[in-house]
Symmetry: C2
């Protein structure tokens, strides 16, 4: 019987019995076969030399795809384990060795007395490279479970024994062998060690077996592996760049923000960081105005009665900061929704008032465990560009479209950050009517299509109260951040008894849309600081222009410089002035370090002619122009929120 293979483009091909995915690749092109590392057969990823079933779909996995890199890294983990065994002998016991984002690790127990540090990574890496050069095939064997168990017992691999007895329910188990190293493993792997074309070991940490503090502390070796040396080099470069751009480092150097042990998980925005914070709020407020949002300012402490009504008391309490007030329990609000419903319910609402779009920058507090707090990205206190839209079911489509357009405006037009959407649909357990869900999901998908947003569907991944769209935003280093979100909620208005009087004179529950574009301002500013490497675009820059006088600073030059500085201030620009007698190149260098976008250098010639010598950050000299043009050019660029990276 021939093998019938359906390819991703829908075409169907027939192959002789026993054909494997590699042969399918070769039948398409020799070049393709060289860059394929595994295959997804009937949706399941596997080694490409396993014979294909009689009828199947086949997706060839290329080495530079995310799934291909996972396979390479998983194989690299085996290679590293083999290298360790070669150097440290048979007494090393192995735990788990999975691929992770951008790399892999393997947890191991070294013989007593053997301490591994980062100094040892060099020789292990060298041994890995030898194994790669040998180009050992990765050979898979599917054996009866007991046989594998016996093998692991014989070789003293206690953690593997434990894995087999506790986790493997099938009657068989698979092992993989590359050269002199054999490991319990489900696969898949690259066909041979030579396909791991670039490897680098990166660090050593401790890790509890299975992540449980009650278990033994193992040694975890980390590494990264890529499909080419160039890809590895690029990755190392990105890592270095990310280190340079680390917002905690830049925040300190540029005096944007600080932290203090007395307020863990909360950001102190210093004056320069507060400028960025306030400019972002102004920007969003301006967009709100155009889009019919109304801002409110709300309390932060609420009686537990509110949280009981909203359901947070039962389902979210461990994330809330609780207080004893008036002999009752209160909480700092972790989110705005319930308080906005209170405002909606404050008086009788009519369908004429819908959609009602309520925006709120109120500080929120969530009790994250102290250990996971990190810079601006994991905090306990934050503000969101949060808003809730109360609307009718018929208005869902229009409102979602408006919010997607909003996301487009902010990320595509202003921040020049590309994004992808994920549409999460009805889960197994859900509340509300199926027809409402279907109509809503169709409306969400139509809005994505109409706005030409590229998206994937996470089927069944919506919340029980409604479907949602999350947006992954890509920064300048190619990293993805989930920032914007749009969530439908059929449930909270029902639970909290929010109603409006419809055109039919009857009472109805509105639909609620939870949405944020920037998300937490703290997190967003952290991301933005790294995205721009601290070189904020003109409209966000804490100092936009520096008036720098050339020494010796005569009275004329000083007067002219001050006049220009005042003109900049009067034009609403953030200007500073340097009239010191320091050397001009030192003055310029200090401002380059502070990443100030523009300098207006003024000496005797400029003072006489009413001009400025313009310097732009990193671009240097930009020529001499009239002082008034300098002011009006800056004003124009600020108003346009021009952004370049």
């Amino acid at each position: 019987m021939p093998v019938k293979v359906t390819l991703p483009d829908g075409s169907v091909k027939e192959y002789p019995d026993g054909t494997n995915a590699l042969q399918v690749a070769e039948s398409i092109s020799k070049g393709l076969a060289k860059v394929v590392v595994a295959a997804k057969v009937n949706g399941e990823i596997m080694d490409f030399h396993r014979p294909l079933p009689q009828e199947c779909t086949v997706l060839l996995i290329k080495e530079d795809s995310p799934e291909g890199l996972d396979v390479i890294r998983h194989s690299a983990a085996h290679i590293m384990a083999g290298a360790v065994k070669r150097i440290y002998g048979d007494k090393v016991k192995f735990g788990y060795g999975p691929p992770v984002e951008d790399g892999f690790y393997y947890d191991m127990e070294f013989p007593e007395g053997t301490k591994i540090s980062e100094d040892d990574l060099g020789k292990i890496e060298a041994e890995c490279k030898k194994i790669i050069e040998s180009n050992f095939p990765f050979e898979r064997k599917d054996l009866p479970k007991d046989e594998v168990l016996g093998l692991m017992q014989k070789t003293g691999q206690g953690y593997k024994v434990q894995t087999i007895t506790e986790n493997i329910k099938d009657p068989t188990a698979s092992i993989y062998t590359d050269g002199d190293f054999t490991d319990l493993c489900e696969g898949p792997h690259v066909p041979a060690t030579g396909r791991v074309k670039a490897i680098k070991l990166t660090k050593v940490t401790g890790a509890y077996w299975k992540g449980d503090q009650k278990n033994a502390m193992l040694t975890r070796l980390y590494g990264t592996a890529w499909h080419s040396q160039k890809a590895l080099d690029d990755y190392i470069k990105r890592l270095d760049e990310a280190k340079k751009r680390d917002h905690r480092k830049l925040g300190q150097e540029l005096e944007l923000f600080m932290f203090h042990e007395w307020s863990p998980g909360a950001v102190f925005f210093m004056p320069k960081g507060a400028v960025v914070y306030n400019e972002l709020m102004s920007f969003i407020r301006e967009e709100y105005r155009k889009r019919g949002f109304q801002e409110v300012v709300t309390p932060q402490l609420y009686n537990k009665g509110l949280w009981q009504l909203s359901g947070h008391w039962d389902h979210y309490q461990e994330n809330m900061f609780l207080l004893d007030i008036d002999e009752d329990k209160f909480s700092l609000k972790p989110m705005n929704c319930p308080s906005h419903v209170l405002m909606f319910k404050h008086r009788t609402r009519s369908y004429r008032e819908l959609p009602l779009r309520i925006a709120d920058f109120c500080p929120l507090h969530r009790n994250e465990v102290k250990g996971v707090l990190s810079g601006m990205t994991r905090v306990r206190k934050f503000e969101q560009d949060d808003a809730h839209i109360f609307c009718t079911e018929a208005q869902i489509g229009q409102e979602i479209a408006g919010q997607i357009e909003f996301v487009n405006r902010v990320y595509n037009e202003v921040f020049k950050m590309p994004f992808q959407a994920k549409l999460s649909t009805r889960p197994e357990k859900f509340l509300g009517k199926i027809e409402t869900w279907n109509a809503a999901e169709a409306a969400l998908e139509k809005a994505l299509k109409d706005n030409k947003v590229s998206y994937t569907i996470n089927a069944g991944d919506g919340a029980f109260y409604g479907p949602k769209i999350d947006f992954d935003i890509k920064d300048a280093l190619g990293r993805n951040w989930q920032l914007a979100t749009i969530q439908l909620d059929f449930q909270l208005p029902v639970r909290m008894g929010a109603e409006y009087e419809g055109q039919d004179g009857q009472r109805h529950h509105p639909v609620m849309i939870h949405r944020a574009i920037l998300g937490s301002l703290e997190r967003f500013i952290g991301v933005l600081t790294e995205h721009y490497g601290g070189v904020f675009p003109l409209w966000l820059a804490p100092v936009q222009a520096s008036v720098v006088a050339v020494s010796p600073v005569s009275d004329e030059i000083a007067a002219y410089a001050k006049q220009l500085h005042q003109k900049l201030l009067d034009a609403g620009l953030r200007s500073e002035i340097d009239l010191s007698e320091d050397n001009i190149s030192a003055k310029i260098k200090a401002r380059e370090l502070q990443k100030i976008p523009f300098m207006a250098v003024v000496g005797a010639k400029e003072a006489a002619a009413g001009t400025v010598a313009v310097r732009e950050h990193k671009k240097g000299n930009r020529g001499v122009i009239a002082a008034d043009d300098f002011v009006s050019n800056l004003r124009r660029d600020v108003a346009a929120r021009t952004s370049t990276i």
Copy 2:
């Protein structure tokens, strides 16, 4: 021996022995004598018919002065007590009966079974008026304490007996008699009951004897009294106006803000109130920019370590909301100062950075007792236009002058609210060097004089850490509100170890200036709402202009109205539009009720001519002008923050 009297103008006059203050008044003018109710002799206020000492200063107290009104109201309290005694008999026991702001009260114990309600006030007031018509003289007697005690025991006045035994240390005590009523009293009083020219009893409440819950509950009768019927009528009119302007009432009617039992003492600013809130912040931010303030954004939760260091843990803890976090105690910050010192201490500071002016709108929380919470004026959560200036001692004068000018700008120029300053100087217990205090107090006083601010001195009333200036701001109803404040602090920087490197290379503690111009934004908005009676000036108005189409609304009129509405929005103005077919006078009335400053009425004629018929709130028709002029006029007035009442 003649009596030697120094008058307030510095002139010295001689009178025969036994002369009293009334005779001094008569010697100056008959008219003056008629409006004098008491005298301040050597600084002590007393009845004007007591003989003057040999040598003294005399200040005649007129009936319409604050002190004169106090005397009238104190006498009115006796008159009311006498009236009650006439009606309810000798069994009524009297407690205290002092003058209070705008009136007086008397606490009394009625015989068992007698319940007094506001329905009874009419007959008591009528009896008061009979006593006033009788024009009984107020006669003072100074008697041995025991004699007075005996008298009070005999008449069954137990509360008076208690007062004599517990509070009177002198060997003598004074009693006052008017007609058939005698009371233990220090005085002074008007010469005769007829000088209480206008009286009105206002309400009945309960009150514990001496304000202590463990004591008996007495009945408190309130009244008001004035030097003329016209003054009383004006007062009643002001009260009515204040009731109409009550910010809680207007807040509800105009949908500015709301309250909810689940967040006691915290304001929900609805969209319209949030406009006022944000406009005030923008205004203050604009002034900050001109004055070299730098804004910061700060955390709200701090470990007790901060409060122990600042001293709040020991002296302010009962006002703080406490939380258990990370197995330690934290508090929501009740004030910003300690957190600003943390930011100052974040790195080494140089004298070159001073003065450093740090502004912060962060929400603050103070645990006020639930019972005293009231509207916007007594709240638990609020934001201030708070700032701290870190400066050298030499910079105090310049900085204080700058802040007084700031107060001038805000209240005189923008809100048109007159104010008076109170300078509070070194108390008996103080910290720091006397020379520093003297120099600072001189600097404060000079700044007040230089800025032509009228002020009084509260000698010894400063805080232990520094002198201060408080500003009493007068609203449109003539009520005083203490809003702005400027406080010097020599202490906190020392206590918290804040230092800068001086020009001399040595480390010094900066001086800290705590200051707020509006004070709590919540309270200020409450005051402002009443000051303007809800008719906010154009720049603060939640809706600035209404485009109202005349019905029948043709396509041309609708298109023209929409175009105008969009022009207003594009000009940054807050506009709304009404294209309904409702009657034009109904449309106008609805907007008058919402106190919208301007309406642009457009019909066929206006659409054809490109004009608008302008209506201004309360002023009605303001003529027909070009639509573009309407937009630019509004823009101009908003930018100028034009304010009329």
